[in-house]
């Protein structure tokens, strides 16, 4: 219906839309729609264009992570037992808390976008800041997990001596019994660090952009029809959340439930 009504403006008006643009000049023509850029006909077209541009970017993000998910799939098919053994060294409790933190940050981001759409500046800033705190908490918990991996000697390239440590003789014997080489477990950890590392990098970028948006928002930059940047940053934040929705079960929850993590201690 909306489009029909709009088309009728073009047809029914005494002058066609394009002539009006040429005659009146941009400033005068658009002063009733403050957020509209001069190269768009109306707000609807502008929003659609911006949303599609953001989605095109998100598609490239999905394809980039998709490559890693493919590598994960291929090696899991090949080294399933090694994946199970590697996964048992992750801390499910911390992983679950982080999943909750990130899902909750998606909710607070949605609330921030909602506040921006209604022009509530204080609520917008509050919820952007809460989103940032949650994002920082996620990264902090992730850093604690990585620190544990480092101390245990489970970081390929930096500290990979877990399977040379005599303390872990029982687990090393178990590996041999299951016909799993330490290098197969190493493959799991390489994939684990690549995927969680790339995800964490996206979180850092997301935090930076949300911080910039919060700062500009506090100066009223996203009011009077200018709220779309907040929506687009929200799309990015939710996508990073979706990546984690897949990473959590794939990396942490394989081969049964192991709440404490850090097996072999």
């Amino acid at each position: 219906v909306a489009t029909d009504v709009h088309t009728s403006v073009h047809v029914v008006g005494d002058r066609p839309m394009l002539e009006r643009h040429a005659g009146d000049g941009h400033e005068h023509d658009h002063d009733h729609v403050p957020g509209l850029h001069h190269h768009f006909d109306d707000m609807e077209q502008q929003r659609e264009t911006h949303t599609l541009g953001m989605w095109a970017f998100l598609v490239t993000e999905i394809m980039m992570f998709g490559g890693l998910f493919f590598v994960y799939t291929l090696y899991r098919w090949q080294y399933h037992n090694a994946y199970v053994i590697g996964s048992r060294h992750l801390n499910i409790n911390l992983g679950t808390i982080n999943t909750f933190v990130l899902l909750f940050s998606s909710l607070t981001m949605a609330v921030a976008v909602h506040a921006a759409q209604l022009g509530h500046r204080k609520k917008l800033i509050t919820f952007l800041v809460i989103t940032m705190i949650l994002g920082a908490a996620f990264l902090g918990i992730k850093a604690v997990e990585w620190g544990t991996d480092y101390r245990e000697g489970l970081v390929p390239g930096l500290a990979w001596n877990y399977f040379q440590n005599p303390h872990n003789a029982a687990e090393i014997a178990k590996l041999a019994a299951e016909n799993v080489l330490p290098n197969h477990v190493m493959m799991y950890f390489i994939i684990y660090f690549c995927m969680t590392g790339l995800h964490a990098l996206h979180m850092v970028i997301g935090l930076t952009i949300v911080g910039i948006v919060a700062f500009l928002g506090s100066r009223g930059r996203f009011e009077n029809g200018n709220e779309q940047p907040v929506e687009l940053v929200g799309l990015y934040w939710h996508l990073v959340d979706i990546i984690w929705i897949f990473l959590f079960p794939l990396l942490y929850l394989i081969g049964g439930f192991h709440p404490g993590g850090g097996g072999g201690h």
Binding site: L74, S106, I245
Partner: protein, 129 residues
Amino acid sequence: MAQDAQAHGHASDLSDEEAHHIVPMSVYYRVFAALMVLLIITLFAAAFDLSHIWGPMNIIIAMTIAVVKAALVILYFMHVRYSSRLTWFFAGAAFIWLAIMFSITLADYFSREMITGLGMGTVPGGPSM
């Protein structure tokens, strides 16, 4: 005629507002509650080894729940449910392309054994299958 156009012009401004759908907060809360329930189901399902029913049972359940969670986020938090067909197409394109990449590349790996007789052992360090 001019009056007519003005009336329509006003209606058009209103429709811009309507086209820019503002999702009510209650929707966000319900989606978040659903995400929490699905997270608990994910953990619960992972606590049981279901491979005696069918080998890949655990991963299928885990991925099904993850897809539902992702769909909820995409449709409601990312507003795709309220967006144009073109946005649906863009969002869907990513997953169609992923499916192409997975199916064709995995078809290569799965069929190597048939062709070379060497199996997955052709990947360095792979177990003999």
